[in-house]
C-alpha cells in the first residue's frame, strides 16, 4: 500500500494510454442512442461525455417517472395472482 503514495509511481498513471481511453469512449458512444446513429462520424470525446451525462440523467428521470406511474397503478391492482403471470411473461422474452 505504501508504494502507491510515492511519486515514482507516476508511470502507472501515464500507462493509461490515449488508445485505451479512445476505446472506452467509443464503447460508450455505441450505448448512447443519440450518438449511435452517428457511428461513422467522428464524435469528440467531450461530446460523448456530455451526451453520456445527458443520457444517464434521462434514464434516472425515466426510473422516477415509471416509479410514479407504478405507485398509482399498484394502488388499484390486486397483486398476488398477477405476480406470477407478470414474472412468466417478462422472463419468457
Amino acid at each position: 500500500m505504501s508504494g502507491r503514495r510515492s511519486r515514482s509511481k507516476q508511470s502507472s498513471v501515464s500507462s493509461i494510454t490515449d488508445d485505451q481511453i479512445t476505446d472506452l469512449v467509443s464503447k460508450l458512444q455505441h450505448l448512447i442512442p443519440e450518438l449511435r446513429r452517428r457511428r461513422f462520424d467522428k464524435v469528440s470525446t467531450s461530446k460523448v461525455l456530455q451526451e453520456t451525462c445527458n443520457y444517464i440523467r434521462s434514464l434516472h428521470r425515466e426510473v422516477e417517472d415509471l416509479s410514479d406511474r407504478l405507485s398509482q397503478l399498484l394502488a388499484s391492482t390486486d397483486s398476488d395472482s398477477d405476480q406470477a403471470a407478470i414474472i412468466r411473461s417478462l422472463l419468457m422474452q
Binding site: C53, V63, S67, Q83
Partner: protein
C-alpha cells in the same frame, strides 16, 4: 450457484431475471403493506419513493459487489439503513485512504480529461474515486443496468394497464 439448463450463458439475461425477481418481490411487499383503499397523495408519494428505492436497490443487489458502482450504491444503502436505526455505522477507513490516494494521482495527469469527467463522476455511483479508465468502463455497465431497469419497469406498467 445452480445453472439450470434453461439459463443462457449470457450474463445479462440472468442479471435481468435476478432484477425482475427482486423488484417484483419488493413491489408485492410494498403493495401488501399499503392497502388498496388509501389513494391519498401523501401515501402515493411515499409509495413512489419506496418503489424508486426498491428499483435501484434491486439492481444494485442483482449486480452484487462485482462492480465499483454497485458496491458504492450498496454501501450507501447500508449506511442509510443504520442511520435510520439509530446506530452509528462504522465507516471502513481503509476505503477512504484508497480513495484519497487515487484522487491525488489523478490530479497529476490528464487534467483536461479530468475536468470533462467531473460531471460524469457525480452521476455514476462511486465515480469520485475512480480513475478515468474505470470511470468509463463502470459508466458503460451502469448505463446497461439502468436501461434494463427502465425496460423491465415499462413492461410492468404496460402489464398493469392491460390487466385492468
Amino acid at each position: 450457484m445452480m445453472n439450470t439448463p434453461q439459463q443462457v450463458k449470457n450474463p445479462s439475461t440472468s442479471l435481468k431475471s435476478r432484477f425482475i425477481t427482486r423488484f417484483l418481490g419488493a413491489l408485492t411487499k410494498i403493495n401488501a403493506e399499503d392497502p388498496i383503499s388509501s389513494p391519498s397523495p401523501t401515501r402515493i408519494f411515499q409509495r413512489y419513493r419506496r418503489i424508486k428505492v426498491a428499483s435501484n436497490k434491486s439492481m444494485a443487489y442483482s449486480v452484487r459487489s462485482r462492480r465499483i458502482w454497485s458496491r458504492a450504491m450498496l454501501s450507501r444503502f447500508r449506511s442509510r439503513r443504520s442511520a435510520f436505526s439509530g446506530r452509528r455505522s462504522s465507516v471502513k477507513t481503509t476505503n477512504c485512504t484508497t480513495i484519497n490516494v487515487t484522487i491525488n494521482e489523478n490530479k497529476t495527469a490528464k487534467g483536461g480529461l479530468d475536468m470533462q469527467t467531473d460531471e460524469l463522476r457525480e452521476l455514476v455511483p462511486g465515480g469520485e474515486a475512480m480513475d478515468v479508465c474505470n470511470l468509463l468502463d463502470e459508466t458503460a455497465h451502469y448505463i446497461k443496468c439502468l436501461t434494463t431497469q427502465v425496460q423491465v419497469m415499462r413492461k410492468i406498467v404496460d402489464f398493469c394497464h392491460l390487466s385492468k
